[in-house]
Symmetry: C2
Subunit: 221 residues, 2 copies
């Protein structure tokens, strides 16, 4: 059975990736990262709930808390404020330096070790926070790097099925494919009820609204 490593945060984008990978017939190795981000516990719970629902037994949850030690972002540095007044131009302070580069490099090692031929990542290029490590051109280039920097027999394709979708598209495709939206977590700041006002909550709520649907999770506001 063909294998894929799926980078899963517990959010709705990576959950849809897992749903689509299963539909494509892949056996999934679910890869999750803990890095002392504000909502670390809640994301890990979402990750496990989603894997339970999707019957994914191969799970690897890795401690990458060195990311918090490097710092420079408001998700790990509690002395910084997560923006709550709406998306602005430029790269916001929730950008974690080269996070997807680090995650994909680790995913490549996991894929090589386990003979997986694909890595799924739920990057979204346009309808997003404007993180540079979510751009399609970056993903294509790091795929080349990974194939040059691993054994000649290792051939890995990085799949990014959501890269050109809007958040509304993601909600629609999730509903069509029974992706468990109700188990996902997107909020950057809160672990009890989603804050509703951070960029991640705003993008998510806007997606549901534009898809004429209602978000099944609870919000403070």
């Amino acid at each position: 059975m063909k294998k894929a490593v799926v980078v899963m945060s517990g959010g709705m984008d990576s959950t849809l990736c897992a749903t689509l990978a299963l539909k494509q017939g892949y056996e999934i190795i679910a890869l999750h990262f803990d890095y002392n981000q504000r909502t670390m516990k809640r994301e890990k719970q979402a990750f496990n709930d989603i894997c339970d629902r999707l019957n994914i037994t191969k799970r690897l949850s890795l401690d990458v808390s060195f990311i918090a030690k490097i710092g420079g972002n408001s998700l790990t540095d509690k002395s910084m404020q997560v923006p709550k007044t709406g998306l602005s131009d430029g790269v916001p302070n929730t950008y974690v330096p080269y996070r997807n580069g680090i995650f994909l490099s680790i995913a490549a090692a996991v894929a090589e070790k386990n003979d997986a031929k694909a890595i799924y990542i739920g990057v979204v290029e346009e309808d997003s926070s404007g993180y540079p490590d979510c751009r399609a051109e970056f993903i294509k280039t790091i795929q080349n790097a990974i194939n040059l920097g691993t054994k000649d027999s290792t051939k890995i394709e990085i799949k990014m099925p959501l890269v050109s979708l809007s958040k509304a598209d993601i909600v629609r495709v999730s509903l069509e494919n029974n992706s468990p939206l109700e188990l996902t977590w997107s909020c950057y700041e809160s672990e009890e009820m989603a804050c509703g006002v951070c960029d991640s909550c705003r993008l998510r709520l806007n997606g549901f609204k534009k898809a004429n649907s209602t978000d099944p999770i609870k919000y403070k506001f």
Copy 2:
């Protein structure tokens, strides 16, 4: 003062990189990785001894022990044997899947956070163990990926001054530049005295021999 992140294992290649970066006028951020490899303590000691000697105060030692959790190599998996009968064709079991890809991705995050414009890595392409993540083409491609996956204002050059050198060249250039060879550690297996028979010891000893020099560190054999 221009800044460079130097990936430093404690071995003679990365130590020469640090020596050369200082000579080029860089302020150095020394980056070391612990990953539960067999000689972790000894390498960390070498790293600190070398930084002390070179007056490098900015040091970042990061726990990347998830590498041992991924496994698939004899440096972290003690149930596997480190080869001791000489270099063979193909990729040996001391190859840690995509290690330099992971290290360079983390170095990129450190560089972006700290406004460093260069990353030094002591990869050697020919006179080496044949690891795929030590090839120049890989390093050039991951440099492109890093610049696409970080902020547009972030421009990072990956410098690999040793990539085309032989081990004998590295010994000669180290001696010419007073790189502290006596403080470095290369052995894959032992922490007291170098084993002298693993691939890394063999490459090192052969380099000293061809450079008509004597290795200042102690060996069992």
